[in-house]
Amino acid sequence: MARQTSSKGMGLLKIALLLFFLLAVVLPLVGMFSRLADPQVREVFGTPAFASACVNSLVVAAITTVISVLAALLMSWVLCRTAIQGKSVFAVLLTVPMLVPSLAHGMSLVYLLGSNGILTNLLHGSWSIYGFPGIVMGSFLYSFPPAFLMIYDVMRYEDATPYQAADVLGIPKPSQFAHITLPFLRKPLISAAFATFALVITDYGVPLMVGGKVTTLPVLMYQNAVGLLDFDTGAAIGFVLLIPAVIDFLVDVLARDRASVRYVSRGFDLKPNAVRDAVGYVAAVIVTLALLAPIATFCMVSFATKYPLDLTPTLASIGRAFTMGAGSYWVNSLFTAFVVSILGTILAYLVAYITARVGGVSARLLHLASVTTLAVPGIVLGLSFALAFKGSLIYGTFAILILVNLVHFIASPYLMAYNSLSKVNKNLEAVGQTMGVGRARIVLDVLVPATADTIAEMFSFFFVNCMVTISAVSFLSTTLDMPLALLVTDLDAQRLVECSAFVSVLILVTNVIEKVVVAAIRRYRHTQQPVSR
């Protein structure tokens, strides 16, 4: 009998989760895109503004994709195939830009290289970064870290045996790179390229800050939906923005399944090679500086007396930022991030448990639903929520911000949990059943401890993304629950440059603290539970 009730409970849980995805993903999107049935709405596609935004977006995304992926490949090579010092430090530094909102990247470029920028003044430069150069640079800062992680995580586990065989056969290094490394990295490179393209083409933070007269699709969408409250135009552009994301999603799904990461692989014995290491070191320093200089700039500006005229350090802008409400926005963000991280981790874990370890038709549907959220850009999701939930109880409250972030970011933590739970012995629940121990107990007593590192990673992913996101929430937040990241533009628009920079610093510091705390907890756990394998 116990078996009957537990499977009934599981059935109810599956239905509840499917309903969640139906209400929180499918219905809002269907509602939003049903507006396209109106021929007048489709007239947007014929306007010159739309056409030029389309071209601008494609150009920016294409150029940035090439730069980001090549730089990511170069850095992965340096960290995996050269013997330079401080590889782990570089690996961390290269991902730091993920800890700040894209708005901050755009803003920091203005402080550094804009018409009154620190470097511009220092070098008496007469260049202009507004427009394509700025958008590409900012988008690079924003999209390099994920591209790097996608390639680096595959390359670091590459097996050295084929190279040793090639050495024995006398095959020269460049040929080895072309015929062993590149084919091995083909899938992650393709995935990284499409992911970068989709990331850049749907971001409005960078082009909003440094775009100048160059308008991209997300900016056009943002201007229409948030600025002019023209939701129809917003919906039409949103539909277009869904296309690259859906293509990326399909490529990712096709590439992921056959990605061959070997569990047993022989590491590389790097022979001493001073030239290779020198080149690697210089490249690593240049890329790291390029990524961190803008961040260092907004850190500096936040403590400047009056940017750009007087850069004398002062703490005045911190006080001013807090008088402008940074404190309460910070609390808003922390609250939202914590709730989303906790609920999101539980939700993603539950769904992954069902898809990885219970199975059935509804499990396949749940898998599809949670992975599909990867294909919905934040701004599209945000606008669809604004349209679907306007007038409902949750509109204008924290509940909708929590819900939208949860849906927006669930795919990656879900996949982390799915991969991790799939690897745990499949017979544990069966053993539990024969011993009279139910699924829930096995999950809590065995699976959760076994996947604790993944759970920490999931929590961290939700948290950091909630702190930096601007896309979905910009359509949904009110002055009462506005997250900190949106204050960056607000204060910048009020010419409170130092305060605006300080807000970015606050977000960065919050995320760094979160990362350090999670890492410390993980390390503590590992010292408490020595696993000798």
Binding site: A2, R3, N425, Q433, T434, M435, D445, S532, R533
Partner: protein, 263 residues
């Protein structure tokens, strides 16, 4: 098909009648019928994919048969929950709780049994000791060797004092030494506790070395069920002759030239 029952008047421990099971429209078990005596060691021998693991999962209730019934001491348990069948199962891949120690694994289920909760550590230690694993009680299982892990897994099953232990290829991940050691431990448990054992394997030698009777399966049905010697002397059909007898003979021949020096 030749099925020879144990010639005793004692009631059967386990009776299996007409078990059928299909997956995705393909029948993998075509009406399996046999019985097992209390304290008997039955080997189920067959190539992979012949349905023997599915049969085992049906016996313990992890799968539900499409037709047929399973009786324990004459009582129909076909619909009973796995934990109510007085059976235990040991998997090829150990299925240990890797976040716990050896002792933690063995006493885990006892925590939920009100009658034995208080004595759980002693029961678990006794079970580990009977498999020679007492010294490893406080070691995390993740650091143990395959043979040691499998012994912890058997101790975990034994601690719940099941009347029937089902063993799903428990030795196939182990090296030759660990296999031999585990074999004799299984025989000891059968002798000391009087536990009925059903042992699945695709290895002819192992099936014959351990069993009181061997059940030869192929393609979802029983080809022969008899004492090992009778099977060798009188294979029921060409399948049994080729898959079992010829194979054993080849193994024997390959070693025969060492026979006299070894003596």
């Amino acid at each position: 098909m030749t099925i020879k029952s144990q010639e005793t008047t004692a009631p059967h421990k386990l009776t299996v009648k007409g078990i059928k099971k299909s997956f995705d429209g393909r029948e993998v078990l075509h009406g399996i019928t046999f019985d097992v005596q209390g304290g008997e060691f039955l080997s189920i021998l067959g190539p992979s994919g012949c349905g023997k693991s599915t049969l085992l999962r049906i016996l313990i209730g992890l799968e539900h048969p499409d037709a047929g019934s399973v009786l324990l001491d004459g009582e129909n348990i076909t619909e009973a929950a796995p934990s109510k069948r007085h059976m235990g199962i040991v998997f090829q891949d150990y299925a240990l709780f890797e976040n716990m120690t050896a002792l933690g694994n063995v006493e885990y289920a006892l925590r939920f049994d009100p009658t034995r909760r208080a004595r759980r550590s002693q029961i678990a230690l006794d079970a580990l000791a009977s498999l020679g694993m007492a010294d490893f009680a406080n070691k995390p299982v993740a650091g143990l060797s395959g043979g040691q892990m499998q012994r912890v897994s058997i101790a975990r099953t034994l601690a719940l004092s099941p009347e029937v232990i089902l063993l799903d290829e428990p030795t196939s991940g182990l090296d030759a030494d660990a296999r031999l050691a585990l074999r004799s431990q299984l025989k000891n448990i059968q002798r000391d506790h009087g536990t009925t054992m059903i042992f699945i394997t695709h290895d002819q030698e192992e099936a014959f070395a351990l069993a009181d009777r061997v059940m030869v399966m192929g393609e979802g049905s029983i080809h022969q069920l008899d004492e090992p010697l009778h099977i060798v002397e009188n294979p029921a059909d060409s399948y049994v002759r080729d898959f079992v007898v010829a194979n054993l003979k080849a193994k024997y021949d390959s070693l025969a030239r060492f026979a006299s020096p070894l003596e």
